[in-house]
């Protein structure tokens, strides 16, 4: 059990962040807290993807001098995916915060349970 924890600590923490982010998004009433939860969720997903390429005692995947062994390098493809995903997450966060400002201007409150104009 401790061995499992020790070997997979990065996966467990990434999934932990994902679950924390989901919990915040589902249970908090203030819109800013929900947006923070969204940010934590996306951080967790990005960490999960980077961990997929991780080798313990691996080096950076750059051929900086000749004779570097490719088998000891960390996988670069997940790092490229995560760069794109971080930028997409940034754009969504910016849009969400500007919508939160407009929502506050219209309704005077950020409490999601009080913003219920659209009903059945």
């Amino acid at each position: 059990m401790i061995n499992f924890l020790q070997n997979n600590i990065f996966y467990i923490s990434a999934f932990g962040l994902i679950l924390i982010g989901l919990f915040i998004m589902l249970s908090k009433r203030n819109l800013i807290k929900v947006i923070i939860g969204l940010s934590i969720l996306e951080t967790g997903v990005n960490l999960f993807i980077v961990t997929l390429g991780f080798l313990s005692k691996g080096t950076a995947p750059i051929f900086s001098k000749s004779g570097l062994d490719m088998q000891k390098m960390v996988d670069p493809v997940p790092q490229a995916l995560v760069l794109t995903a971080i930028v997409i997450g940034l754009a969504v966060l910016a849009l969400a915060l500007s919508l939160a400002i407009r929502l506050y201007n219209h309704f005077g409150t950020l409490n999601l349970q009080k913003i219920k104009e659209q009903k059945w």
């Binding site: 994902i18 989901l22 998004m25 819109l31 929900v34 969204l38 969720l41 996306e42 997903v45 999960f48 993807i49 997929l52 493809v77 997940p78 995916l81 794109t84 995903a85 997409i88 754009a91 969504v92 849009l95 969400a96 919508l99 939160a100 407009r102 929502l103 219209h106 309704f107 913003i115 104009e117 659209q118 059945w120």
Partner: protein, 494 residues
Amino acid sequence: MNEIIDLNPVVLIAVPLALAFLVPLLELVSKKIVKWIPVIGFLFNSVIALSLLPKVLKETIIVKIGGFSPPFCINLVVGPVGILLSVLISVTGFLVAIYALKYIKEGAQQKYHILYMLLLTGATGVVLTGDIFNLFVFFEILCISSYALVAYLGNKAGIESSVKYLIQGSIGSSFLLIGIGLLYGQFGTLNMADIANQIETVSSISLYVPMIFMITGLGIEAAIFPLNAWLPDAHSSAPSSISAVLSGIAIEVGLYAVIRVLFTIFGVSDFLMFFLFLGVLTLLIGEMCAFSQENIKRMLAYSSIGQIGLIVFAFSLASSHGVSGGLFQMINHTLSKALLFLASGFMIYKTGSMKISSFEGIGRKMPLTCLLFTIGTFSLVGLPPFVGFASKFMIIRAALAQGQTLYTILIGLVLLGTVIEGAYFFRIIQRMYFKNNSEVHQKEESPVAGLIPMIIFASLIIFIGLYPEFVTKILDPAASELINKIDYIRSVLG
């Protein structure tokens, strides 16, 4: 025509993207020219897509970006499904852009046109790509543009709907990314054909987790039953031209992504039985909720949910006729729902309210618009000379061909949904034409730039309804591309 225009299919994605970024520069030159850019861009796209169509039917075009060969490169797979949906997206985009010339008159208009072109670029990218991370990137372009466009009018309803849509949509995108990560960790490649090739080497239990994550993530945009809580608010609060594009293109492209992941990557399996029930459930819930609505755009939005349920039902039959019927119903839904939203846009503008009770007698005031609305209604319900009849008939025949009593019961429920749909649509038509209020009517028709796209949509509906052979020629290769994934893998990997 084939020899004159011989362009690489990547221009279908690159040209609208480049024009979208060109708009702020042109805005400095003249503000009036900006609204013509989407028109020109999507006219170009439609012409290129239509000219690629005969070539693609002979042989799938694979575009290798960057000069490497698959599975090491990002490739575009322009097969029959891809080109069919690209033609649909480009033609709908072109017609709604003409409508927006006269409909979008206030607000930050330049940003509307930039976001509109980015939305359709994302949609075309999702449909043509052959790589799952590329699917995620274009899917995000589509989703983020639609979050911003729903909030375009800036009123209370729009901002509230956009916030709800954004929160649910970004949970979906994160789930999709988790699923992609799990698939990459399992197989080591991101190419759809390569994963499809290796999928049998893994036990099917460990494939359920990525499949569930990806289908949940994509299903939020595709508006399948438990995941569609955002749809009624978003489609009713957006401006009408955006509602037309969201209902007609965005949710169908989301559903295409679900189908591509399910059929090509994971292979046809017994998960489809669950999908069958989900489709019928979505259909019944959508139609029943639509029946009790007073706001016309909300009613049309619930009707979109119902139609997506019908398309999911058609795809879950997993036979060649079922999949062809599903694709045909996608075409029907895009053309009819876009026509309905465009017509109701001007009707709402003239009467000033979205309630159905204020539409009494409007048939005498705007006769041509109401006639086009009626054509859209009849086609969506499935009456004979229109497209809806051919597509629904194909779905019902495919379901009956399965032969078991379960399918007959499900067909009964689907037809019950169609009856409910007919009831609430005919109620509107009755109110439009046959109730009089006593004021004197002078004819105040919609502007010409608004009428032209509606007339073209209606004539496409009637033309394809009378001569469906033009479309079934493309549907059969498209259905076999989805069902026989061996051909897909062979054409990409060689």
